[in-house]
């Protein structure tokens, strides 16, 4: 110990040694491509001919002339607001429910958690089948109780709601996080509140809520960042529901039906890898990056525990 302290250079070298794999990874797989994305956003490049500088033309194209940018941004923001809000509300409710269960907690917890583990593609394929108008079990059951089910993934006004339904099915991660937070609330505070004659709602409002707000904040911010990246489920649901009988890699109109499930990440993919408009794809990437970064800053500013326990 004394030896190392007297040699700060050796300590620095040691730190560097331990961090070097990550430092290399960070520079090569994060810093470099990020700078390159900025570079390509000012270039006309079709991945064959040499890139040519075009100034702000890609930026103008995306914000002024790209017909799908508006719908994609709107869908992404819609999903961010609705999906995150509902996920937090239902996650918290489920967390509360699980902490109240007295018998068979393990069984219930597994039932609530398992869908979260289902691979997104598999879960989406399953939901497209379940919600299939005409042959899917869900509308079959609804019709038995006299309800005329919607067309779900095949109806532009219901497609996003169907995606929300799918994401609520996989809410197990939030349930576990909220459950742990709820069990951490000091019992004495409930006792004190009870002595003061607080009812169930007052106990939640004045004891539970203040102590879990950091976790709620964490769930909201990470939820926003995750939903900004929303890709696989929307893409697979749109492709399958459209009934196009072609495999992956096929060029189909994205966001079936009527662009209602088109998200910004999907637009990045179709611009970059189907239209080979590298410049526009990079502009779209940077829009995503700006929003995700802003949210991340918020996360680190707020006391949400991410950078806590520094010492």
């Amino acid at each position: 110990m004394a030896l190392t302290l007297s040699r700060p250079a050796r300590r620095r070298l040691r730190t560097l040694g331990f961090l070097s794999p990550w430092l290399i990874g960070f520079s090569v797989f994060f810093a470099y491509p990020l700078l390159a994305t900025v570079y390509f956003s000012f270039m006309h490049y079709n991945q064959i001919k040499e890139p040519a500088f075009v100034g702000l033309r890609n930026w103008k194209y995306v914000f002024q002339d790209m017909p799908l940018f508006g719908p994609a941004l709107w869908n992404t923001l819609w999903l961010v607001v609705v999906m995150v809000a509902l996920r937090v509300v239902f996650g918290l409710s489920l967390g509360l429910l699980v902490t109240k269960i007295k018998s068979g907690v393990g069984l219930f917890r597994t039932a609530f958690y398992l869908p979260y583990l289902a691979p997104p593609v598999a879960a989406t394929v399953a939901f497209v089948f379940l919600l299939n108008p005409g042959t899917g079990p869900v509308n079959e059951i609804l019709s038995k109780v006299g309800i005329d089910g919607p067309n779900w993934f095949n109806d532009p006004t219901w497609a996003k709601q169907s995606l929300v339904l799918l994401s609520l099915w996989g809410i197990g991660d939030l349930m576990v996080i909220f459950m742990a937070a709820l069990l951490d609330v000091p019992t004495e505070q409930y006792e004190a509140a009870e002595l003061d004659g607080a009812g169930a709602w007052a106990k939640f409002r004045y004891v539970t809520w203040p102590s879990i707000t950091p976790i709620v904040m964490f769930a909201v911010v990470t939820g926003v960042v995750q939903t900004m990246q929303y890709y696989t489920q929307a893409l697979v649901a749109g492709k399958l529901a459209s009934g196009v009988s072609i495999g992956p890699g096929s060029v189909i109109q994205p966001g079936y039906p009527d662009h209602s499930t088109l998200t910004v990440p999907q637009l990045v993919y179709s611009m970059g890898f189907q239209n080979f408009n590298t410049g526009a794809a990079c502009v779209l990437s940077l829009v995503l990056f700006a929003i995700a970064m802003a949210v991340t800053m918020l996360l680190m500013r707020k006391r949400s525990g991410l950078l806590a326990a520094e010492d």
Binding site: W22, T37, P265, M300
Partner: protein, 305 residues
Amino acid sequence: MTTTHTNPALTAPRTTPRTAPARGPAASRARRKRVLHWIAVHSIAIAVALLFVLPFVFVFLTSVMSDDQAMSGDLWPDSWHWENYRTVFRTEGFLDWWKNSLLYAGLGTLFTVCSAIPAAYALAKFRFRGRRTAMILVISTMMLPPQVVVIPMYLVWAQQFHLSGTLWPLIIPMAFGDAYSIFLLRQFLLTIPKEYIESAKVDGCGELRTLLRIVVPMAKPGIAAIALFQFFYCWNDYFGPQIYAAQNPASWTLSYGLESFKSAHMVNWNLTMAATLLVMAPVCLVFFFAQKAFVEGVTLTGVKG
């Protein structure tokens, strides 16, 4: 299926305050209220649990229906066609997708664990200038949508290394640290008391020996958690294989191939559902054996600081 209780935070005693046992009408009223409460909570829980489990049940029931019945909207199979599963396995490519998924998830996990351990240890236990900055960089990487950097990375892998059409562009970067795993493991390592590490050094252990002999064995639950998360991340990944493996069906993974499987079997929902269950199966299986590491990992991301 019973759950083994694990994380102390999750199995902490119930938070309902216990009042001293009383007698008389007030007490019996309280007891009645407790019983009603129990019934109400469990009825709601059973109803909600059914909603969560039913999709699995319907998927399974459809997977053993005949071709015709699977399109009919029927809920219960007339006859049980277990051979659907054999048909799925005999579909061209399906076994290759399994192999590719295992390769991607297996190697990816191994690389991630090996590269995350030293970085997480340094970030948790070393004092150095720029440590906070390093943490901020880790978190920023973690939060970054993969679409932001994918285009330049694809160009490098395709044009410089000619590795498009393989899974290597996805596997190799994992040998250089994955931000999420580093972050998670660091949070775990923070909980290991300094004294253990210091006493190892007093005994003459070098930094590397301390890490391998003292820290790694103590951090096993944390390492298990990041390994599992990484395995599932790779197993479930769709975007990565779509970028790099799409052109070459021999490199498709299960998650990626499943969609094309459905497209190829346009009308065969029964086969598609059987394939869907086969993609889900390893995940569920691993979960039952490693629930503890999972729940701990999830909790660690959200709650512990």
